[in-house]
Amino acid sequence: MLEDELNVSIRERDQVAIIDLMGDVTTFAEEKINTAYTKVTEIGAKKILLNFRQNDYINSAGIAILIGVVTEVNRNSQRLAVSGLSQHFQRIFRMVGLSQYIDIYQDEEEALHGLASA
């Protein structure tokens, strides 16, 4: 009941595949996130936005999942961005080094704007 609290869904806007992540990003998120990533990759997405919503809990297991996604993104020559992260998790992404591989935007609009000119 307290374990898995993540909803993942996919949409597209301006040729960007948006993966909405609503809830906790922990070890329980692995299958959901990897499935979503595989799905958008199969349909040929070159630009992917992980749009975080109401994420008051992302832990080191969640970070490890995201590092896995970055590994695949690099391998597949895609571009990855994130939006909607709180200040705290933006800081964590910088600490871990994820910000070197992921463009961090405040919100979805800003991310779409940034990815359009990329």
């Binding site: 307290l2 080191s60 297991a61 490890a64 200040q87 800081r91 080094g97």
Partner: protein, 166 residues
């Protein structure tokens, strides 16, 4: 498990809140919420509260996964010690696995993570980065203790207002 590892290393006034959780993933969130709310009410700034929340969640997750090996019946003990100028948060498991000393000073790198099968190993490093003091010790019966401290840098007593940043 019932004795307090840190209760006597300082004189009063300090007050201790004890929290016992089942060793099941997800319950670390309750420790995180409780300690975060306490820190907020003590007057810590939002970024410090968030740092504590993450550090504590990592420590409790380790206690559940490693120290107590996901054995639901084993408890994780979290002690929150409220002092005038700091909050001490300690986490103890029941020691079904001993914490390797050489895990304590690892500095993981994302580049290494790209090529490893196991991309974990960020928990202890995050704890060390996010709190002001951290100490790992082994308690009676081989239980692992993590003791974390965050310092309160207050200029006024107003709720959330007037605290200096850090």
């Amino acid at each position: 498990m019932t004795s307090s590892p840190n209760a006597s290393d300082d004189t009063s006034p300090e007050r201790v809140i004890e929290l016992r959780l089942p060793s099941r993933l997800g319950y670390e969130k309750i420790a995180m919420d409780a300690a975060g709310a306490l820190a907020r009410r003590m007057g810590f700034q939002a970024d410090r509260v968030d740092a504590l929340r993450t550090a504590l969640a990592e420590a409790v997750t380790n206690a559940i996964e490693h120290g107590n090996q996901h054995d639901d019946a084993m408890k994780v003990l979290v002690m929150l010690t409220v002092r005038q100028d700091e909050l001490v948060v300690s986490v103890a498991d029941q020691g079904r696995k001993v914490l390797d000393q050489d895990k304590l000073t690892l500095t993981p790198s994302i580049e290494e993570s790209f090529i490893k099968a196991d991309r974990g190993g960020w928990g202890i490093w995050l704890i060390r980065e996010l709190v002001d003091e951290v100490e790992f010790t082994t308690g009676p019966g081989g239980s692992n203790h993590v003791r974390m401290v965050i310092h309160l840098d207050k200029v006024t007593d107003g709720r959330g207002a007037g605290n200096v940043g850090r």
